[in-house]
Structures are given as structure tokens and as C-alpha cells.
């Protein structure tokens, strides 16, 4: 089956004082219809930039594409005009952002913002758009949708705003939904509501989802396949079960071991957590070798001088590490 979205060797760079640095370096992935792909990593690893890049939303300058291709249904998005991109954004591929307060327009009512997409993409009349907006708010389980349409974002709670964002993103039945930390700003009980909602809608509408998060728990519960990013590069990709059962990259292994868990036995509590030494490196001064080498327990001279290629370590399980066999 042809993948719906195929990102190939994508490189995004940013100009900064004293040269440019790679925020996303050689990222490739494929997404099939109805699938959920998780992208996990820490701040600055390039996970959000990779999503913005798909929609051609990288601010230029200072950012620019330095090669690669993004095929959506066979068309390379990097070669489309801005006008053609507008036909894709919100209609074919849409995005949910982390902070619903800053990504909704504070001076427009919820109804205005919801119907805007519909008027633009679906050639709907005002009346149709209004009705569809009510329908969408019902779909995302907002009580009293008719009143809510007249309200402004500040009158809604955080969970409600995120629901409105989801309603906006899904109002044109997009084929791909890019969700960038959709629940990070929310409380856990609201997070559970929102994640369930995304799954339900995904099953109903057949949307493919790219779920970007730093939370391994969310990854474990909601994704089919996972990409782990570190310092702009994909360091591991696998089926979610394989990834948690037997990580093939020391960074993934360390990440999994360092999270406090709610399901541990009493004996593990208050014992020291497994920490990854050191700090996330600055993208501006990455060396020649593996970016994780300075923090890695397995690193040797080879790691410090030569970047490990992404290799298939087991069927369907890829990792970029010289020492996967020692894990």
C-alpha cells in the first residue's frame, strides 16, 4: 500500500549568529492511513520543527529547507506554491498545537474561528458553516454548543479550548492530523479525556495521526509506531511494543529507565532513578560523531568520530547506534 505521507531525508536548518545549524537532520518516515505514529524526544530535539516543516510553516528567514522531500499522496509538498499549500493546510493535513490559549485568536468568537476553515475549504454558505460548527462542537463533546459558538477563547477552560482546537483541525475531515503535544498543558484527568477523544475521532474518521510528545506514557498508550529523536536526528524507530520491550538505542533505554512510574512495587520507590548524565547538547556545536556519545555509557572512539547509520537491527526495528548488540 502506498503511504499517505512520506517524509524523506528532510533537513531543516536555521541561520544564527556565526553560521547555520540543523534543527532536523535527515529525518525520514512514512505514515499509512488510519495509523498513529508517535514522535518522542526532549526539548530541542526537532520534533515540533519536523511537524511544522510538513505544513511548510517554518519561519523563513531564519529557517530554510536544506534538502529532502515530503510526499503527500504522491505530491512533493516542498515544490508547491504558497497558494497550493493553502489548499492542503487545514483541509488535507491539519495541526493541533500545545497551547490552546496562544493558538486561538482572542478577539474572534469560537464560532467565527470554526467556520473560517469551512468557508475557505468547503465552499460552505454561512448558514451551512454555522450548522457544521455546532456539529463539530457536539462531536468533541462540548456541552451547550450553540452558546459556546458566541463565546471568546478566554471564556473557556483549558480543556474546552483544546477541544475547540481539535474541532477546528478536524472540521474538514483531514487525512493527516499533526498533534504537537496536544495535552501537555492540561491536567491528567483532562488529558485522558482529550486523548480518548482523539482516538475515538480517529477511528470514526480514519485520520492518520502524528502524535508528538515528550511523555513516554502517552506514547505507550496511544501510538502504533514510534520514532525517537535526539538532537535533530531519528535515533530509533520501532513498533511501540518492541520499543518498550527491547530498546536498541542507549538513549531510548536511558529515557525509559529514568521516568518515575506509577505501577512500581514498593521496593523500587525512593531508590535512585536511573539518570542520563549530562545535558542535552546545543544544536550549534554538535561534533562529528554520535550526538549522544558524551552522555552514553557505551560510547568509545568510534562513536565520537563517526555518526552511526540508521540500521535495521531486527525486522521492523531501526536504530542508529554502533553498540545496539550490547544493550
Amino acid at each position: 500500500m502506498q503511504p499517505l505521507l512520506k517524509v524523506q531525508d528532510l533537513c531543516v536548518k536555521f541561520n544564527a549568529r556565526g553560521g547555520s545549524f540543523s534543527a532536523v537532520d535527515g529525518l525520514s518516515y512514512q505514515l499509512a492511513a488510519g495509523e498513529t505514529l508517535g514522535i518522542v524526544g526532549e526539548s530541542g530535539c526537532g520534533k515540533s520543527i519536523s511537524a511544522l516543516a510538513v505544513l511548510r510553516l517554518i519561519p523563513d528567514p531564519p529557517g530554510f529547507y536544506d534538502g529532502g522531500a515530503i510526499h503527500f499522496e504522491g505530491v512533493d509538498l516542498l515544490h508547491l506554491s504558497e497558494r497550493q499549500m493553502q489548499q492542503i493546510r487545514g483541509k488535507q493535513i491539519s495541526m493541533i498545537f500545545q497551547e490552546p490559549m496562544t493558538s486561538l485568536n482572542p478577539v474572534l468568537t469560537v464560532g467565527k474561528q470554526l467556520s473560517e476553515t469551512l468557508l475557505l475549504h468547503e465552499n460552505a454558505t454561512k448558514q451551512e458553516a454555522h450548522e457544521r460548527a455546532i456539529e463539530m462542537l457536539k462531536l468533541v463533546q462540548i456541552p451547550e454548543p450553540v452558546q459556546r459558538l458566541e463565546e471568546y477563547p478566554h471564556q473557556l477552560s483549558g480543556g474546552m479550548r483544546q477541544r475547540v482546537m481539535i474541532a477546528m483541525a478536524l472540521s474538514c475531515n483531514p487525512k493527516v492530523l499533526l498533534a504537537d503535544e496536544p495535552t501537555t498543558a492540561l491536567d491528567v484527568t483532562i488529558q485522558a479525556q482529550i486523548l480518548d477523544l482523539i482516538s475515538t475521532l480517529q477511528a470514526k474518521l480514519g485520520t492518520a495521526v502524528v502524535l508528538i510528545t515528550h511523555d513516554m506514557g502517552v506514547i505507550a498508550e496511544k501510538t502504533d509506531r514510534v520514532i525517537v529523536m535526539y538532537a535533530g536526528r531519528k535515533v530509533e524507530e520501532a513498533d511501540v511494543r518492541f520499543l518498550f520491550e527491547s530498546p536498541q538505542h542507549p538513549y531510548t533505554e536511558g529515557l525509559l529507565a529514568s521516568i518515575p512510574r506509577i505501577d512500581t512495587s514498593e521496593s523500587v520507590d525512593r531508590s535512585a532513578l536511573n539518570e542520563i548524565k549530562g545535558i542535552v547538547p546545543s544544536l550549534a556545536d554538535l561534533g562529528l560523531g554520535c550526538a549522544f556519545a558524551p552522555r552514553c555509557r557505551l560510547s568509545n572512539d568510534l562513536c565520537r568520530t563517526t555518526k552511526p547509520p540508521l540500521e535495521e537491527k531486527r525486522p521492523g526495528h531501526w536504530a542508529a547506534c554502533w553498540h545496539s548488540n550490547q544493550l
Binding site: 526532549e42 491536567d187 484527568t189 498508550e221 518515575p260 520507590d269
Partner: protein, 326 residues
């Protein structure tokens, strides 16, 4: 709870209401009941984890205990001494015994002071000694929290997030406090750095016998670091016990929902049934009558709508505020 020993911090019937003023000539138009009738105590050298969702009043408790805000009513005892009615001057010597660690390591450090000056400042305010002694003490604390002593001359922007949080911890420790209140001290950090700071906080407790009031919304972190856990909902404690009891056999419907909402980092656990609460947390300006959770509770009874359930000790050391149990 171990009744033989005296609690380091004891809080009884604490209330903190914030007046809401409206109009051109502001008149009181009501109250935000941020904290309502909260009691707890922490034994020396132990950690009480205070969990709850945003707006439940957990940070207000931290600030009121430190007397950064005056409580509306209730009593606060530090090491057996009633500090509730002390004024600013009387509080000054006591401030050395309790310190706060902030959530955001970016906005809580003065960008124009060096790390060394930030860490040393409490010492010069409370306990002026010779320059040489102050500097020695500052470097000692630097070393203890895992910062390089030769970085003392650097400014905050030259440090990473995790290192800045270490500076915040060093500043809290320099006066040898008995009680440290951490207000979401690891929430702003990346996962791999979070583990480093949690380990540091636990190590410091073992070495120095510090008592922690650890405020967080992250249940997994609280489970890892605490001895006792109190769960708050809309200004009240709904359940409190020794940690393992509450995580193994939660009794309050809210605690159960909260625990089941935490995403579990094990793909195999996916099948588990999740209790998804409907709706949002109500406003603390006009909290529901009776039990504040009743509108979202699956087990609501008539009694819950009218009478607030008292916090009662159901088994030794396990406190619960729910009519179901009684």
C-alpha cells in the same frame, strides 16, 4: 502516622480565601475559596507529597505555610511553635528554617546576579559572617548540589535548565533549613534531567534530614519521592495516607480517577479500564454544595449534594473525606 514523634510541620484547619472586588469603588463581591479547612502534618526528615490538578489550592498552601500570605484562619506550627500570628519582624529569624524551591528555573533567578551571588544572598541577609566564611559556605553548597565550584562566577543564562534548578536548590539549602517546600520543582524539566533532580532531592534529604512538602501535579513523581501523600480537590484534602496505601488501594472516587488517568509507560497495560471523568473542575468562587466532587462523581448519593464529608481516619494513618465509606 507515627504519633510518638512531634511533627516538624503541623497545619490545622487552614483556610485561605481571596476576596473578589468588583466595581469602580471596589466592593467585596465574594471569595475565591482557594484553601478550605485543610489539616496535615509532616514528621521530621519525611516528605509529604501534595497532589491535585491546577487550581486545587496546592500552591496556595505552600505559600501560606511560608507566611508569604496570611491565612484567613487556621494554625501553622513549625517544630511545635505556633507561627500563625507572627509579624514580619518576628518571622525573620524563622525564615531561615523554611525555604522554597520554585517551578521555573528561568524566571526565578535574577539574570543580573552571578550564580554565586544568588546562592550566597540568603546568607548575607540572615546570617552575616565574614566574606571568606560566606564564600566557603557558598562553595560547599555548590558542591553539594552537583555544580562545579568554578561556575560560581557565571550568570544564570550560561546554565542549562537542570543546572539552574540546582542553583535554586543551593539557594534554598545555604541556611540549613529544616523544611523545604518544593512547588513543582521538577515540572519544567526534561525527562532525563528530571531524574537527576529527583535523585538530588532524595540524596539531600538522606544526608541532611530535611523535611519536604513536595507540591506536584505529577503522580508518578510524587509516588517516587514521598513518604505520605495528600490528594487535593478544589481546596480540600480528599484523601491522605502513607504512600503505598493510597497508590495500591485508593478509596476516594477522585483519587481513583486521578490514578487511572495517568498514562502508563507500558504498551501492554493498554487494555486497562480507565475512569474518565466528565466535565471540568468547578470554579472555587462558587464551589458545589456538599461534597465538592459530587457533580463529577459516579457514586454520588443524595447526602453528597448537601453535606460536605468530613476528613476521617478510616484505618490507622489513612484519612478519607467521602460519604461512601461511612
Amino acid at each position: 502516622m507515627d504519633r510518638g514523634r512531634r511533627a516538624l510541620l503541623e497545619v490545622t484547619n487552614l483556610r485561605k480565601y481571596f476576596p473578589i472586588r468588583r466595581g469602580f469603588f471596589p466592593r467585596k463581591a465574594g471569595h475565591v475559596q482557594a484553601v478550605d479547612d485543610v489539616s496535615f502534618s509532616i514528621l521530621p526528615g519525611k516528605t509529604l507529597g501534595l497532589v491535585g490538578e491546577s487550581g486545587c489550592g496546592k500552591s496556595t498552601i505552600g505559600r501560606t505555610v511560608l507566611k508569604l500570605m496570611e491565612p484567613t484562619s487556621g494554625r501553622i506550627f513549625l517544630d511545635g511553635r505556633d507561627i500563625t500570628d507572627l509579624n514580619r519582624t518576628q518571622m525573620r529569624p524563622i525564615r531561615t528554617e523554611m525555604q522554597l524551591i520554585f517551578q521555573d528555573p528561568f524566571s526565578s533567578l535574577n539574570p543580573r546576579m552571578t550564580a554565586g551571588a544568588i546562592v550566597g544572598e540568603p546568607l548575607s541577609l540572615h546570617n552575616p559572617t565574614s566574606r571568606k566564611q560566606s564564600r566557603e559556605r557558598m562553595l560547599e553548597v555548590f558542591d553539594r548540589v552537583g555544580l562545579h565550584t568554578d561556575q560560581a562566577g557565571n550568570f544564570p543564562h550560561q546554565f542549562s535548565g537542570g543546572q539552574r534548578q540546582r542553583i535554586g536548590i543551593a539557594r534554598a539549602l545555604i541556611l540549613n533549613p529544616k523544611l523545604v517546600i518544593g512547588d513543582e520543582p521538577v515540572s519544567a524539566l526534561d525527562v532525563s534531567i528530571q531524574a537527576q533532580i529527583i535523585n538530588l532531592l532524595m540524596k539531600l534529604q538522606d544526608e541532611l534530614g530535611i523535611t519536604y512538602l513536595f507540591i506536584s501535579h505529577d503522580l508518578a513523581v510524587v509516588k517516587h519521592i514521598s513518604h505520605q501523600v495528600a490528594v487535593m480537590y478544589l481546596g480540600r484534602i480528599v484523601e491522605m495516607s502513607e504512600k503505598n496505601t493510597i497508590f495500591k488501594a485508593p478509596q476516594h472516587p477522585y483519587t481513583r480517577a486521578l490514578l487511572s488517568a495517568v498514562p502508563n509507560p507500558t504498551p501492554l497495560a493498554r487494555a486497562k479500564k480507565r475512569i474518565v471523568l466528565s466535565g471540568d473542575v468547578p470554579s472555587p468562587i462558587n464551589p458545589p454544595e456538599g461534597c465538592r466532587f459530587h457533580e463529577r462523581c459516579a457514586y454520588v448519593m443524595d447526602q453528597c449534594k448537601t453535606t460536605p464529608p468530613p476528613l476521617l481516619e478510616i484505618t490507622s494513618g489513612h484519612w478519607l473525606a467521602c460519604h461512601l465509606e461511612n
